[in-house]
């Protein structure tokens, strides 16, 4: 088995993939329930959703909306990731920094998306809303998990590093990365889903023009349930794709770092 610093205890378990038969069964149940209710405005059928999605895909506006939201949520995620890593590293050896950040992290974790969104609309243009919201949702998750990972690093390994006089770069590359990776991976998996959900939720409230959130809001006010479900499917697919691509890229980068 190829050596990998991400294949810790958490990575060693086989990640359970979604089974096609389970998805098919849920679709059948959904279709049956939709037929039973008999009113698409209440519960649209999967067939209608698929049909509507096929219509949307052919329109340029569809892709522009995805790009609009994706760019901003990605930016918020990236900023949160970078600053989460930086501040977790700082906090791990500087207690005053850790204590200073603690109340801010707690507030970010506990405050509802809606509160942040309404506050943000006072300060920043609505078109950049999802950048900020994604950031405040992701930063505490990344920061907290990474900090815990760093502080949980086996002290015996750190003693070993002292005896062998390992430079800081090697300690980070061989010891800290290896120890922290399961925490980091877990944090990314959680926060990618969160940043999409919260970013889109903020767009529904703030309605930046051309965003997926605006489309959802329009579907709501026109009681356009097929559009609502279709756009929801889009959000799920984009979120899952982004998660896969990101985690795959991260794995490859770390394997390369280790082999250097």
């Amino acid at each position: 088995m190829k050596d990998s610093i991400t294949s810790g205890k958490a990575g060693n378990r086989k990640r359970e993939s979604i089974r096609l038969w389970a998805v098919a069964l849920w679709l059948v149940l959904w279709q049956l329930l939709s037929l039973k209710i008999g009113q698409e405005i209440l519960l649209v059928s999967p067939a209608s959703v698929a049909f509507r999605l096929a219509e949307l895909v052919g329109k340029g506006d569809f892709w522009r909306s995805i790009l609009f939201s994706f760019e901003r949520i990605l930016l918020g995620f990236t900023l949160a990731l970078s600053m989460g890593i930086l501040f977790a590293a700082l906090s791990s050896f500087c207690r005053p920094v850790r204590e200073f950040l603690q109340p801010a992290v707690l507030v970010m974790k506990s405050t509802p998306v809606a509160s942040f969104t309404i506050l943000c609309l006072i300060w920043i243009p609505s078109r950049n809303l999802s950048v900020f919201i994604s950031f405040v949702m992701v930063f505490p998750v990344i920061y907290t998990n990474l900090l815990e990972g760093i502080l949980s690093t086996d002290p015996q390994l750190l003693e070993m590093a002292e005896i062998f006089r390992l430079p800081l770069v090697r300690r980070i590359r061989y010891i800290y990365l290896s120890q922290v990776m399961p925490y980091f991976r877990s944090a990314c998996t959680i926060s990618i889903g969160m940043c999409w959900k919260s970013g889109i939720a903020a767009e529904v409230i703030g309605m930046p023009k051309g965003s997926i959130g605006e489309k959802l809001y329009q579907a709501k006010i026109y009681l356009n349930t097929p559009d609502l479900f279709a756009w929801t499917m889009v959000i799920i697919v984009v979120s899952r794709l982004f998660e896969r691509v990101f985690l795959f890229g991260m794995q490859k980068l770390l394997e390369k770092l280790e082999r250097m």
């Binding site: 294949s7 005896i163 062998f164």
Partner: protein, 190 residues
């Protein structure tokens, strides 16, 4: 330079481990610290490594010395391969072939790329020993280095270690009198 321990005192709470302990560990030789459990053998090694400080007394001869160690625990990065664990401590760039050859000297073949957590206890032990020998050192400290090795592997590994530390300063802690015989050491009984 010889390593001199003078009037060493160390206690943990009410338990006094060393009181005015003194010893001279000669340069270029293997010194074997023996004694029953709880006598402070590992504590002495930790004091020599600088991982703990004595309550009083002095240790001379280790100032600025480059240390290497085989710890009582393996202390390997479990998610990394033996190659990565070895590469970690090598100052100069070492080729994969050289590291593979070194692993073969201690009887490890075919597992170079596996994560260490997949290796047996004896295999991990050999990686720890090899790591200590591949690092550049002036003084080598070994704490029960050969535990967990089967008889045949024990002979192979001790022969290899003896060859590698010939003429170099090493301090070995062991319960097993065979270790001292195999490495040709001088006994220091606690």
């Amino acid at each position: 330079m010889d390593i001199r321990v003078e009037r060493l005192c160390k206690s943990y709470g009410d338990q006094q481990v060393f009181r005015d302990y003194g010893a001279l560990f000669p340069e270029g030789k293997v010194s074997c610290i023996t004694g029953s459990s709880g006598k402070g053998k590992t504590t002495l090694l930790r004091l020599l490594m600088g991982l703990e400080q004595p309550d009083s007394g002095m240790i001379h001869g280790l100032e600025g010395a480059r240390l290497s160690a085989v710890f009582q625990e393996d202390r390997l990065c479990e998610n990394l391969s033996p190659l990565s664990n070895l590469r970690m401590v090598c100052r100069k760039r070492v080729s994969k072939q050289e590291l593979v050859r070194a692993l073969e000297r201690v009887g490890l073949t075919g597992c170079e790329e596996k994560p260490v957590r997949e290796l047996s206890g004896g295999m991990k032990r050999r990686v720890s020993i090899l790591r200590a020998l591949l690092a550049e050192f002036d003084v080598l400290l070994l704490d029960e280095p050969f535990k967990g090795l089967d008889a045949e592997t024990y002979l192979k590994v001790t022969a290899y270690v003896r060859e590698e530390i010939r003429g170099r300063t090493a301090i070995l802690v062991s319960h097993d009198p065979r270790d001292m015989e195999r490495l040709g050491g001088v006994e220091f009984r606690l």
